[in-house]
Assembly symmetry: C2
Homo-oligomer: 504 residues x 2
């Protein structure tokens, strides 16, 4: 993510916050002042495990001058023949702050006596373990793009642990997942079996049942919850758990920065895409674009942020105003009328300028330059617990949300060809290439390749990445049309939706 | 609105809150305990002025047994030949708590010395006034549907004053409205003329301008605001002003209840539809449905309400929990796990039940029976300042919003036939008839009528209304398919989109 955490005010006073990473804790920006100096990193810097980079290649991947595109090795293979490509930024931060994950995990169905997912002492032979996995577990495919800022720590940690947290939470309810038509019980006893509370007959709270008597004795008002909603809720709460874990482990480790988190999970025929940040996922099916995520930025979340500032003005530290103006107000404009909008408005009206309006706006800037409290350009993600406004004691975190928006795509309901794909990318990909162009590019590329080519999707990912990075010319990284390419870290997954069939 | 303010808990303890209206202040539900007894009503109960009902007809309109459909008189005519029909509820409240407005207003362009819209002493002759109106003002068409609850007071007042507040606010900026391509100035001096502050050159806040230098000296970051955004903002702030006025005048008058407010404004070729509540507007064009509003209910605004309860738990008065469960929790379920969701979630997950979860849920019930704090079934509207949870001192108002959502339809960009209409209706219309059915019915009806029939749109409104009211049978008001008709007040406008041309 390019310059996502940068203190706009600091550049006014001539300072630039260096982008720290965990190898150089002394370089941490003043905005990250959690006193982490001296603590060991939670995970050492690396590229995704599935790339299996040697130390030499790891070094090679950080060359800002040439920005080499790193892809999957020719002889390695990801689940569903997933394609992957990445490239480092043009010098914004020393390391590539994007991270990625792709793996197949298993949700083990426990008998009531088994403990969660841990391999008990009884399971000693490899044969027994294999049988357990194959016959007594549900496969879950996981893909994640983690776009870090102000360090690699949070992105590294999330890329390694978030899928495990989700897997463990799903293990707890594994016995409720498989029958999609049988809704999960509303109440569970401690052992996970449904708890049947006594039904109070006639406990009619609303009094005006119009038509339809209830067939069975049950609570008057009882919502039907689907298995799909349960999986969504588990993903949502897992993001929070991941965020809490980062906060907790910061006591013992140096976990720098924060990260936008975009993940996709395939479970029992459905694809769940969860997004917290400004990465993006789209499905391209028959060359048609189906958006699978929305971006969360100061502009898209303006009203939520303003509402929080309005309700809890103490979070603004007497430095910021929750009201938005079309530009900064000058002192000599006091008493004049200026266009404004607050958390309730989408249009603009005039208000008389008072002293309080001279404070710096909570949301300021447009497009990629929009910032929350002049500090951060995304509004959802994991980490950032120590992030403060430059030279102040004002915490940004209360305005950031770790909660994703989850969208569901029913894979099993559609017939997919080998050119139908899910594309996941960090903002570096999308900032310079529009959805439609990405879809056209990937469709054209795939239609020209042999369907059985094992490198098919990785080459497609590489092709997309190149379209956003461009090539180095005298005037910087340029696209074929001479416009600027993305100078940001770029990460791309191209995932065939017929992947499950391709594997068998 | 049927039973929108009713205390679900009170029916548990055997009580029913009577639906008060201003003629019987002693009947005011305990929920409306603002001490208004003895104060005169702000406006006496009546039906919309344009109906011009005699006292006898006014009496007739309140007959719950026959529920007569009231329409425009044969010889009267609304702007744009707007069609209108209304009917009282089936006995829910003594009076029809819906109100409606339809009128043509003028936004007078002031010279800088003139005061806002008031007719100054200089304008004495009728001739002068007429010339002023014709040549120095902008016509604004206004339609409003105000669906009251717990009394008629707020709906009556809003139906008479909201359009004037909007008109006055537009007068203030009349000189900025006509040139749609010239954006309104960001800053105005007190006399309404643009105020040009000194430009600080080089006040570059963001530091990383990538491409494109600024052509003119102007503030580094300055948003372009359209005339359309300005009108939207004026409508949004006018709703707040109206709500504040109700609160203020409650000191001197009895202004009972609250009201959902759905309005449409035609100004300079654009239609602005603003909605706060659960009324609905749709455009039917070439038999295609274009939704022009969203409903605001405990279900659609769940996350906003939960977020407020989460941030300001004191507003819940130790009686309610902001967490949602699929049903009430029993005491013997303490320590068990139950499905829940909070303000961050759309899916559901399990949580261990603690003492605090036994409180009554902030949002409870499904569909039309969903309530905020067991009291109210809509979450936006005007009024309700005294509304409290039954038998408590917990105010509902902080959870209600008086702010509308505004949608814009560019009338002048489309060619409309005489069957293309905007339909506005209170929830009584939509609860039993779906958008698609309303569209089909109105299209079929209009295609069978002479285009020049002056009663064309009023008869269409009456036809729609009858489809939702049904006819009285032994088992109540029934539709042709024997399902229950709406027992609620019903109000319908059918507005031809070619109305401006029809008038000339």
């Amino acid at each position: 993510m390019i310059s996502k955490v940068k203190n706009a005010m600091s550049s006014l006073v001539g300072g630039m916050i260096p982008h720290g990473h965990h190898h150089h804790p002394q370089q941490h920006g003043s905005a990250q002042n959690g006193g982490t100096d001296g603590l060991p990193p939670r995970f050492p810097y690396s590229r995704p495990e599935f790339l299996d980079l040697t130390q030499e290649l790891l070094q090679y991947s950080t060359e800002h001058a040439s920005r080499p595109v790193i892809t999957l090795k020719r002889d390695s293979r990801l689940p569903w023949r997933t394609g992957y490509a990445e490239v480092i930024n043009a010098g914004k931060s020393m390391l590539n702050e994007d991270q990625a994950s792709c793996e197949l995990l298993y949700i083990r169905k426990m008998s009531s006596k088994q403990q969660r997912c841990s391999i008990s002492a009884r399971l000693q032979s490899l044969k027994f373990i294999l049988r357990e996995i194959l016959f007594n577990s549900i496969p879950m495919h996981f893909w994640g793009v983690f776009d870090g800022h102000a360090g690699s720590g949070a992105a590294l940690m999330a890329s390694k642990l978030l899928q495990r947290i989700i897997r463990d939470r799903l293990c707890d309810v594994a016995h409720l997942l498989e029958n999609q038509n049988s809704p999960p019980p509303i109440c569970l006893a401690k052992n996970g079996s449904p708890f049947q509370a006594e039904v109070k007959k006639g406990a009619c709270l609303d009094g005006e049942e119009q038509d339809g008597l209830l067939d069975e004795p049950r609570f008057h008002m009882e919502k039907d919850i689907s298995v799909e909603s349960l999986v969504m809720g588990i993903i949502e709460t897992a993001f929070r758990q991941m965020d809490d874990l980062i906060e907790k482990e910061k006591e013992s480790f140096n976990i720098s920065g924060g990260c936008c988190s975009l993940i996709a999970i395939h479970l029992l025929g459905k694809l769940y895409v969860a997004n917290a940040g400004d990465s993006r996922a789209i499905i391209v099916r028959n060359n048609e674009v189906i958006p699978m995520s929305n971006e969360f930025t100061p502009e898209s979340e303006r009203q939520r942020l303003q509402y929080l500032g309005f309700l809890k003005p103490e979070l603004l530290g007497n430095e910021f105003t929750h009201i938005e103006f079309p530009r900064r107000i000058q002192h000599n404009e006091l008493g004049k009328k200026m266009l404004f909008r607050d958390h309730t408005m989408t249009g603009w009206a005039y208000k008389t300028i008072v002293e309080d309006d001279l404070k710096f706006p909570l949301i300021y800037g447009e497009g990629k330059k929009a910032r929350v409290m002049a500090t951060i350009g995304v509004t959802r993600g994991l980490g950032d617990h120590d992030l403060k406004v430059y030279n102040s004691n004002i915490h940004i975190k209360p305005f950031l949300s770790c909660c994703p928006e989850v969208k569901v795509y029913n894979i099993s309901e559609h017939k997919h060809g080998s050119d139908d794909v899910l594309i996941m990318g960090s903002d570096g990909l999308w900032d310079v290439t529009a959805d439609r162009d990405v879809a056209d590019a990937v469709s054209t590329f795939l239609s020209g390749r042999e369907p059985n080519d094992p490198l098919r999707y990785t080459l497609a990912a590489q092709d997309l990445l190149m379209r956003s990075r461009g090539v180095l010319k005298e005037r910087g990284w340029r696209l074929p049309n001479e416009r600027l390419g993305s100078g940001d870290d770029i990460t791309v997954f191209v995932i065939p939706l017929a992947g499950a069939e391709l594997e068998t």
